[in-house]
Every structure is written in C-alpha cells, then in structure tokens.
Amino acid sequence: MAVATLLVTHFWAMVLFAVLVSLALTALTRRTPLERVKYALWSILLFLLIGIGVAWLMYPFSH
C-alpha cells in the first residue's frame, strides 16, 4: 500500500517553518495589528535570509 508522504523541497520546508514560527512569535510579543504585521514580515524575512546565509556558509564543507 502506498504511503502518502508530504515531500517538500529544502526551501519550502524553510518557508513553512518561518511562517508558522513567526506567527507564534508575533502573537507573543506584539499587541497592535500594525506592529504585528511589521514584526511578522520582518521575522519571516530574517528567518529566510539567515537560513540561506548559513546554507551558503556550509556549502564549502559539502565538497
């Protein structure tokens, strides 16, 4: 019997993780709607930028 497995690329796994964790952090730390939107976008962006940055830093060790 075939087993359904959600197969995501490395990038989309990172995006999903960034969005969901940023949502929780935003709810925890910000109170007004405008602050929440700004913080969530900033948090998602930083998750992605730092993730891609660390990936590039590790790139030489993969060869």
């Binding site: 995501v8 969901l20 109170r31």
Partner: protein
C-alpha cells in the same frame, strides 16, 4: 480644595488604579492560573481563549497544529516516552509539549517515521518546534492569568 500637590499628582504613577489592568482582567476569570496552564498545554490556544485573548489563542492553535501536522505528514520521528539516551528523552519532552497533538501522531502518521529522506528529518524538527511553541504559549497564558502580562 485642600488637596496637597502629592494627591493631585501622585509621584508613583505605577500605583495609580487601573480598572482594566491585566491583573484586573485576570481576576475576572474563575479558573486558576494552573488550570489555565494545563488547558493551554493540553489544547494549544485554549488557555488564551479562556482568558478571552481569542485572536492570540487562534494564532497559537494554527502555529502549533500547522507545525505538528506538517511534521507528521513529512513522516518525522516521534520520540517515545521511554528512551534509552538523553537526546531521546529531550526529544520526547519537546514532542509531548504539543499536548493533544502528541497522541494524534498515530492518526496523522500511520506509516511511522521515515527519516531516511530529508522531508522526514525536517518533519522531526517541525514536530519538536510545535511542542516548543506550545510551551511558550503555556507560559504566556500562565503569566496573563497571574497578571504579569497583558
């Protein structure tokens, strides 16, 4: 008329009465802080809903449920309660922190984990992150209940 300047302008504004302060609002709830924390752990977001922080409760529910269910669908590893090594125990504590979603692993991940693929490895982290996010939510709900946070 005979008010002193100190009475007109209290030197310590923190002690000024605030009828709608966090402590004031939390006192309106009948449930105790420990009960709030327990319900927040058991069902992510429920503690906030009981404290009438509906939006925050729903966001925590979406975040924890999203991380846990995606982790299970990626076939991440779910750590059992009785582990032989410390990392397994830590993994179990992180997973079990997601409350009702820990036993639901049997429903969403019938085929068991598959960490031979990258998706399964990511899934393990998603499931652990769901527990950690829920733990943060439990502490937040508890602090609101005791009046330390708004």
């Amino acid at each position: 008329m005979n008010e002193t300047p100190e009475e007109k302008f209290p030197s310590n504004p923190v002690q000024a009465p605030e009828p709608e302060s966090a402590a004031g609002r939390s006192r309106k709830t009948s449930s105790g802080p420990m009960l709030i924390a327990l319900s927040a752990w058991l069902v992510p977001g429920l503690g906030h809903l009981l404290l009438r922080r509906t939006a925050r409760g729903i966001v925590f529910l979406i975040a924890v449920a999203g991380l846990a269910i995606l982790g299970y669908k990626m076939r991440g590893n779910v750590f059992p309660p009785h582990s032989t090594d410390p990392f397994g125990t830590l993994g179990f504590l992180a997973d079990a922190a997601s409350g009702i979603f820990y036993p639901l692993a049997r429903v969403f991940e019938r085929a068991g984990p598959d960490v031979a693929r990258a998706a399964g490895d990511y899934g393990t982290r998603f499931i652990a992150a769901a527990g950690i996010v829920n733990l943060v939510s439990v502490f937040d709900a508890y602090e609101i209940a005791i009046g330390r946070r708004v």
